[in-house]
């Protein structure tokens, strides 16, 4: 098919989709309306279980099984990326050169790393209380290490980050989530049921299994992102050559 014909097909498809979307949108309950049957029930259920952040309660309690599915997608994508970006036999690595950076940047990198790490851990730890949680905090923690690369250079990052450790962390996070679910079965309830005491409302130890699952996700996401970026970094900066 010629480029012109393809564009015509695309235009027809987009216009038809646009028409359908507009027709659908006009019949959806209007924006900002008061009717939220699921939301109201989810809030009630979260408060019954002493979880202040109802979004975390939905993720790690009411729909914990669903989140296991999401986590597995994450795990599978990381696995796929690692396999795709591994170094093949006919490729060689070159040692990346240190870069000279201004002292201001170097100092910023060294000072901002622990602060960012702390912010990430804070976001994970308060997941069941204030906005945040394992998904968000995990990304922040992983980004923290890479400040060394962007503010200083790649060798500095490599000295600090042991990728093998994070590969294990990724698997441990996933396993911890699955095993916490089994805990529900052992207690005679359903898989991933919230069987721990719900604790005192609005304290760190509230929400039963929510903080545990949250921490497991935090470990997995942080490790997963470090492993992903490690592969991309080594492909872009170290690995050369390949099959012809």
């Amino acid at each position: 098919m010629s480029r012109r014909a393809r564009l015509c097909v695309l235009a027809a498809g987009l216009l038809a989709t646009a028409a359908l979307l507009v027709a659908a949108v006009l019949r959806v309950p209007s924006f900002g309306g008061p009717w939220h049957p699921y939301g109201d029930r989810a809030v009630e259920a979260a408060l019954r279980r002493n979880t202040a952040n109802t979004v975390s309660a939905v993720n790690f309690d009411q729909r914990a099984f669903d989140t296991l599915g999401e986590e597995s997608i994450l795990f599978a994508s990381v696995l796929g990326t690692v396999v795709l970006l591994r170094r093949t036999e006919d490729e060689r690595t070159s040692e990346p050169r240190p870069v000279s950076v201004p002292a201001t940047m170097r100092r910023y990198g060294i000072a901002a790393l622990p602060v960012t790490l702390l912010v990430g851990l804070y976001v994970i730890a308060h997941g069941q209380l204030s906005p945040g949680g394992g998904f968000q905090g995990g990304v922040v923690v992983a980004t923290a290490f890479h400040l060394l690369y962007v503010a200083i250079d790649y060798p500095a990052l490599k000295r600090v980050r042991a990728v093998g450790l994070y590969e294990i962390g990724d698997a441990l996070g996933e396993a911890a989530y699955v095993l916490t679910g089994v805990g529900g079965l052992l207690a005679g309830a359903a898989y991933l049921a919230n069987v721990l005491p719900y604790g005192t409302f609005n304290t760190l130890a509230s929400g039963g299994t929510v903080p545990l699952l949250n921490a497991a996700v935090g470990v997995e996401v942080a490790s997963a992102v470090v492993v992903l970026l490690a592969r991309f970094l080594s492909q872009a900066l170290e690995i050369e050559g390949g099959r012809e």
């Binding site: 480029r3 393809r6 564009l7 695309l10 987009l14 989709t17 646009a18 979307l21 507009v22 949108v25 006009l26 959806v28 309950p29 209007s30 924006f31 900002g32 309306g33 008061p34 939220h36 699921y38 939301g39 989810a42 809030v43 979260a46 408060l47 202040a52 952040n53 109802t54 979004v55 939905v58 993720n59 989140t67 999401e70 986590e71 997608i73 994450l74 994508s77 990381v78 796929g80 990326t81 795709l84 970006l85 308060h126 209380l129 204030s130 906005p131 949680g133 998904f135 968000q136 995990g138 990304v139 409302f201 609005n202 997963a224 992903l228 592969r231 991309f232 492909q235 390949g242 099959r243």
Partner: protein, 114 residues
């Protein structure tokens, strides 16, 4: 105002698909896919919004105030992070394509295959 957020979501989706289909570079195409994906978050959160409502997080407000829908927020929040790792997988595929064929232009790739 009653439908504007939904129309914006629809626009983002359509413009993302347009970019995806007309892209001349696979890395750009992955970026366009990320754009199209973000339309789902806009749609979900617009559906969950309630006038005068606040976030369903009770660390600093008393339970009982009007809140927006937490279910759609939970759906969107996991997908934002999981979506990023899927983007990484797609980018890894692009890297493999570049290694094998030396190009990331879909038209050139098509010519190579044929």
């Amino acid at each position: 105002m009653t439908v504007l957020p939904y129309l914006v979501a629809a626009w983002i989706f359509l413009v993302g698909v347009y970019g995806l289909a007309t892209s001349r570079d696979l890395v750009h195409a992955v970026g366009c896919l990320a754009v199209a994906q973000s339309s789902t978050y806009v749609l979900l959160l617009s559906v969950g919004y309630r006038h005068g409502g606040t976030a369903p997080v009770f660390s600093d407000v008393k339970p009982g105030v009007t809140v927006v829908d937490p279910v759609v927020q939970a759906l969107a929040l996991t997908d934002v992070v999981v979506g990023a790792t899927v983007t990484a997988l797609l980018l890894a595929l692009v890297v493999q394509t570049a290694k094998r064929f030396g190009t990331t232009d879909p038209d050139e790739l098509f010519a190579l295959r044929g």
